[in-house]
Amino acid sequence: MTDPTGYTPRDWGSHPPYIYADYKSTPLRGPTRPLVPLKATLSELTGPVYGHETIGKLDADLTKNGAKNGEPLGERIIVTGRVMDERGRPVPNTLVEVWQANAAGRYIHKVDQHDAPLDPNFFGGGRCVTDSEGRYRFYTVKPGAYPWGNHPNAWRPNHIHFSLFGPSYLTRLVTQMYFPGDPLLALDPIFLGTPEKARDRLISKFSIDVTEPEFALGYVFDIVLRGATATPMES
């Protein structure tokens, strides 16, 4: 018999802390008291289910879903990977939502005041649902780096924001995917807030196999959600 809850705990050795002083918004926003342990009940073992019916035709193609009169500017890329549990078993039929800056490092968001151009043909938001093997795939353009107010001359590395549900309330994950070789990673307190041993998991890998000739560079970003303990239990 396996553990009926099926979910491993949040691995605090892999996740950033709530309060990380170098990221200056955290000291007033993160909880300060110890979390109260909660043994999962039905309300945690269930969670929102959004399947393929949720997805519009162009939702996974960010090079097209914001196009008005042409193609977005920037370097076209493919971002793909597997969503899996800690044993490498696929998480099928789960919603993956993404949002990102355009190639110039500008978000379409109204409060983004970065003085870089908006792209009339790029929106920057999309979603898809993983297939039966847990795979997802987006077409987009490589997001630019952008400045932020954390400290003088602070710049966010190129990144794509990801949001996933997984099979239960417990598997919820919001994260960011980075690009290999980015010199800003070593200076970014959001990335560096992550425990060192787990940082590489946030960096996608360039793949010539995923790259489509004459069209777009390929990056692979696998995502591991909590779950599916294999611990045998005495009955």
Partner: protein, 198 residues
């Protein structure tokens, strides 16, 4: 032993989630998967509104937080395969709302009051908090002020230090528009909300 893959680390939702996760609420041209309105006209149950603010450690209401809620329907059933009873077809039970569109930075959910799920727990709603300045989301729970008897028996509420339990109780108010439960979330301070390691 099977290979063990490490959990992908959490990162902050950042300040610019709105057009990706709550686009219609903020006026962006993308269909949203969830909103502050959980119950369609046809969903059975008592209509309620849940509203509140998210306060930072300086006591300021946060304007770029995103709240998600997950709940059972009026009969205590969840719309998920792990609940064999299943919810009624008109109620999915998931809501999502950013605090940046209301002039007072409230989150507002129009839903039905959940029923008890029959496992000894009081009616409750799971609440997840995301924001710029938080690298990992926080889990909490909302209970109802008019369920005192059930709350007293609730195993999760009972596991919380007695002097902090009231941070999880939404206060019922009857207004001209109907029943409103007020649920403020305090990230820090004397009234810091209880967050769970779920």
């Amino acid at each position: 032993m099977a290979e063990n893959f490490g959990q992908t680390p959490s990162q902050t939702v950042g300040p610019y989630f709105a057009y990706g996760l709550t686009p219609e609420q903020y006026g962006y041209p993308l269909k949203e998967i969830a909103s502050g309105r959980l119950a369609s006209e046809d969903a059975e149950g008592q209509r309620i509104r849940i509203e509140g603010k998210v306060y930072d450690g300086a006591g300021a209401a946060i304007s770029d937080a995103m709240i998600e809620i997950w709940q059972a329907d009026a009969k205590g059933r969840y719309a998920h395969p792990a609940d064999p009873r299943g919810s009624n077809a008109d109620f999915r039970g998931f809501g999502r709302f950013g605090t940046g569109t209301d002039p007072d930075n409230r989150f507002i959910f129009d839903t039905v009051k959940p029923g008890a799920s029959g496992d000894g727990q009081a009616p409750h709603i799971n609440v997840t908090v995301f924001m710029r300045g938080m690298l990992v989301h926080a889990f909490t729970r909302l209970y109802f002020s008019d369920e005192a008897a059930a709350n007293a028996e609730d195993p999760v509420l009972s596991s919380v230090p007695a002097d902090r339990r009231d941070t999880l109780i939404a206060q019922r108010q009857e207004g001209p528009g109907g029943v409103v439960y007020r649920f403020d979330i305090h990230m820090q301070g004397d009234a810091e909300t209880v967050f769970f390691d779920a």
